[in-house]
Amino acid sequence: MGRYFKNIWEGVVTVLIGMRITWRHLFTPAVTIQYPDVKLKLPERARNRLYVNMDDCIGCDQCSMACPVNCITIETLKSTPDIDLGLTSVGTKKRLYVPRFDIDIAKCCYCALCVYPCPTECIKMTDVYEFSEYERTNLIYNFSVMTPAEIDMAKAKLTAHEKEQAEKKAAAPKAPAAPVAAPSAAAPGVPGARKPLPPLSRPAAAPKTDPPPKPDSTS
């Protein structure tokens, strides 16, 4: 009998204790944030959408080669000696047009491996994470700033220049090495343009800036 009343008493008391807890929580500020209106600040090194600053891109293709999922497509076009493409913000001379720099962000795995090799630090991870689209093709970002007309002009100029060079070479038969390199770079523009890249990236002192981030990515 005593246990019966004790049970009832404990039942009543514990219900009241529980009610006190829920009452307190009624006035506790909610942890929810109103997302589109209020956004949490992302951590400093959050990796989200990729951005490429084309003013600094030298078309070295290193980011594309580093990409584990092949989401970066770069095409380059040699410039003729009479054109000055300017310097990047780190002082590297730009020698290549970049008519195509596409990132398929749908494929991107946000590993940031493309960010570390960039000699001019022009490709980087931003804190933008709201970029959903209705069409998957809209997720292919075209970063190149060149218009089709400009690309055609550059191509025409390059072929004219190549022709001129070849004629010069033919007129003055001297080195056997030069004619071999020239036609391969000349004709299609796209696959040929890949070849002259290694010599270009070397003067940009890329290997020197490369090592520091490497331990970061492996650790």
């Binding site: 219900v15 529980g18 009610m19 829920t22 009624l26 500020p29 909610a30 942890v31």
Partner: protein, 341 residues
């Protein structure tokens, strides 16, 4: 109010229709508000925000949007269901809970029907709800629904007894089943309310009534007929669209009905807590509704405090705790009334 309306409209049929429609005019906005309120309270008790968008300020139009959606929905009746019963059940449930409003004294001036067996009528007519629930569960032809309905029947059979016994204690004091009479017996300052009379008997009776009424309306911790985590939705698993809306409306109407009875019997009904101050027909309505809402708030509060009872625990609480205690209260109050008047 009825006589006044008859004197200006001079047509009894219109007046009676008006008087009968008034509770409905009350139930629907109340249910819309209470659903929103419950969602907000639930959310804030769990440190969330609840609906915040619809309508602008704290999602006030959320339930209006919900009901509009429910109205537009296709009316689905499962092939294996018993068509007639399935269609009929939500109406029975709603009629049962709505009919109880006929004898609820909203104010000194307004009561649907001032019958001298008001309390008896309400208890009798609200049992119709169980029939409807049982019907819904059976007609759905679904294990979960049937389980829910059976549990509901078992629960209401057990808890009707403490409800009636605890109310009887007050009836013995007043000597009348007339709810307006019971209200008038509590006129005066706050200690005239029956909750504080014949202490501690009627106080305990009030608590017993409240606990048992939670079981009557299938609210947590006695929500085993619905038991969304084990029975999907209990008796309304198979219902959708407007039928579901009706069941839901009936549930909220029932919540207010039991709160209204608790208010009338134990908390002085439409009486102002300050005696004559702030009393009158309109203030009476205000006090009545705010007391009822207070009870509803406690119902919601308990929902987020207590876990659901097991069936055997439910039976234990009903038969071994509430019923013996209410008998003791009946005896105590009876002796008190007999000796001291």
């Amino acid at each position: 109010m009825k006589d006044y309306l008859i004197s200006i409209l001079e047509n009894e049929i219109i007046v009676y229709t008006l008087m009968a429609a008034l509770p409905l005019v009350w139930i629907i906005p109340f249910a819309l508000f209470a659903v929103w309120w419950e969602r907000k309270i639930s959310a804030h008790m769990q440190d969330r925000l609840g609906p915040m968008r619809t309508g602008g300020w704290h999602g006030w139009a959320q339930t209006i949007a919900d009901i509009l959606k429910l109205i537009q929905k296709e009316d689905i009746i499962p092939t294996a269901a018993d068509r007639k019963l399935f269609t009929l059940a939500p109406y029975i449930v709603f009629v049962g809970s709505f009919a109880a409003y006929a004898a609820i004294p909203f104010s000194a001036a307004y009561i649907g029907s001032e019958i001298n067996i008001g309390l008896f009528y309400i208890i009798a007519i609200s049992s119709l709800v169980v029939a409807g629930i049982l019907m819904a569960g059976w007609a759905s032809n679904n294990k979960w629904s049937l389980f829910g309905a059976l549990r509901s029947a078992a629960q209401i059979v057990s808890y009707e007894i403490p409800v009636v016994l605890s109310l009887l204690a007050v009836v013995m004091v007043v000597g009348s089943f007339d709810l307006q009479e019971i209200n008038r017996a509590q006129t005066g300052p706050i200690w005239n309310w029956f909750l504080f009379q014949k202490f501690p008997f009627l106080f305990l009776a009030g608590i017993i009534y409240f606990v048992a009424s939670l079981a009557e309306v299938n609210r947590t911790p006695f929500d085993i007929p619905e038991a969304e985590s084990e029975l999907v939705g209990g008796y309304h698993t198979e219902y959708g669209g407007m039928k579901f809306a009706l069941l839901f409306l009936a549930e909220y109407a029932n919540m207010f009905a039991v709160s209204a009875i608790a208010t009338t019997i134990f908390l002085g009904g439409w009486n102002s807590p300050f005696g004559d101050f702030l009393s009158g027909p309109w203030w009476g309505f205000f006090w009545f509704v705010s007391k009822g809402m207070g009870f509803i708030f406690v119902q919601m509060w308990l929902r987020w405090t207590l876990p659901r009872l097991r069936v055997d625990q439910l039976m234990y609480v009903g038969w071994k705790v509430l019923i013996p205690f209410s008998f003791a209260i009946i005896i105590g109050v009876g002796a008190w009334v007999m000796i001291a008047g």
